[in-house]
């Protein structure tokens, strides 16, 4: 986690980084006091988000030079496994994954899709690093215990850490004048998304 906190994009984001990686929802997950409806809301909305992120990663992969593609390929395969996990969880809990998309989730998804088509690959790498690094940092603040230990382990574990580190290297070795702006915009969406999962 030290390399993550030291990443230039993270340090330059300042207060936004804290806002994107701490949330009442997450505190309640850590304390084991999360209301079931909040967890269910998160599960459905995060599924919609992951669906858009799949499109983002596929298009970003296609736009990125071949020599840099491996982490993106690995990430795409991992994301598909995550989608299957979401489906299984939703089935267990009797949730409809085709339910309405919250406008906060929708805006995040639209932002990703608009960005992936219109921005150069270097900006896309910084944007993806923002998405995954903030997620890793958010879940890593929690101890993997309680009813949601499985989720905490998934997004704070070694495998995810290594993936995020590979994205950090890609983003930092392909700098672009717009990278920080997009990285920061991701953090605003992350902050709003976590708020939505708690407040509805």
């Amino acid at each position: 986690m030290r390399a993550l906190a030291d990443a230039t994009l993270v340090r330059s984001a300042g207060e936004l980084w804290r806002q994107a990686t701490t949330a009442r929802f997450l505190e309640a997950v850590g304390e084991g006091t999360l209301p079931v409806e909040a967890f269910n809301r998160w599960l459905v909305q995060d599924y919609h988000f992951a669906d858009a992120l799949t499109s983002y990663q596929a298009i970003a992969l296609a736009k990125t030079p071949r020599a840099l593609r491996q982490p993106l390929l690995d990430g795409l395969v991992a994301l598909e496994a995550e989608m299957k996990m979401f489906k299984a969880q939703a089935q267990q809990r009797g949730l409809n994954l085709r339910g309405p998309v919250h406008h906060v989730c929708r805006h995040y998804a639209d932002f990703l899709i608009r960005t992936v088509y219109s921005e150069p690959y270097a900006v896309l790498l910084a944007t993806l690093f923002g998405v995954e690094a903030s997620y890793l940092a958010a879940w890593s603040r929690l101890k993997p215990a309680g009813p949601y230990a499985e989720f905490i382990e998934r997004w704070s574990g070694e495998g995810f850490q290594e993936y995020v580190e590979s994205l950090r290297v890609l983003a930092e070795s392909n700098p672009h004048a717009d990278s920080q702006r997009y990285f920061n915009e991701v953090l605003i969406h992350e902050r709003d998304f976590w708020r939505m999962t708690w407040e509805g």
């Binding site: 499109s55 406008h103 929708r106 805006h107 639209d110 990703l112 899709i113 608009r114 088509y117 219109s118």
Partner: protein, 207 residues
């Protein structure tokens, strides 16, 4: 016709726009000039994205007739941008460097994400509400004439026959290219909601 079905299904939002303090302020001329200034800046940012969305739709068109229609609509929005440039010049706004507020950003991201990534029917559904709503508001506001209304030019633009023809052209294209499907209805309604949020955001923003 599909365009009427979609419009009627969103009457609640259309009426909320009609009754919105921003629109009422344009109607009787009482709108705070500072709010109008913010509106012009945000709308210029929006229209630049709208022009890009037309261009993307033109590039993705499958026949010459549709390509030609999108080129004409693109010209129409270009004329609207010129109108904004004249307002902006009077108001001292640099339309090339506008910071979009969250409502503008959400609307623009939706339009561009749809224009790049969506199917043509959903693109049409996303783009039509802006035009139809402004045509409707223009005609409604033109019914009341307040002497010395500083926003008369705005009302004249959107109630004029040139704008009305563009709306009809776009709606004919929507009828031609889109079926009555859930994704089409959903995109149309979301765009209408974005319009309402757009008015609210310029009123609420700090001066």
């Amino acid at each position: 016709m599909l365009h009427e079905t979609l419009w009627r299904a969103c009457q609640d939002i259309a009426e909320a726009c009609r009754r919105h303090p921003f629109v009422r302020g344009l109607e009787d001329g009482s709108l705070d000039p500072g709010v109008f200034r913010r509106y012009v800046a945000q709308d210029a940012f929006f229209l630049q994205a709208f022009a890009r969305a037309y261009a993307l739709a033109a590039a993705r068109s499958r026949d010459l007739e549709t390509l030609s229609a999108f080129c004409e609509l693109l010209n129409g929005v270009w004329e609207e941008l010129k109108l904004h440039a004249s307002y902006a010049q009077k108001l001292g706004i640099d339309t090339a460097h506008v910071q979009p507020n969250p409502a503008t950003r959400a609307y623009v991201d939706f339009l561009l994400a749809t224009a790049w990534h969506g199917e043509m029917d959903v693109i049409m559904a996303a783009m039509t509400p802006c035009m139809r709503l402004y045509g409707y508001l223009g005609v409604e506001l033109a019914k009341t004439r307040t002497s010395g209304n500083p926003y008369q030019e705005w009302i004249a633009t959107y109630s004029g026959s040139d704008f009305g023809e563009l709306v009809a052209r776009l709606e004919a294209l929507l009828d031609k290219l889109a079926p009555d499907a859930p994704a089409v209805r959903e995109a149309y309604r979301y765009a209408m909601q974005c319009e309402l949020n757009f008015f609210s955001a310029v009123m609420e923003e700090d001066p």
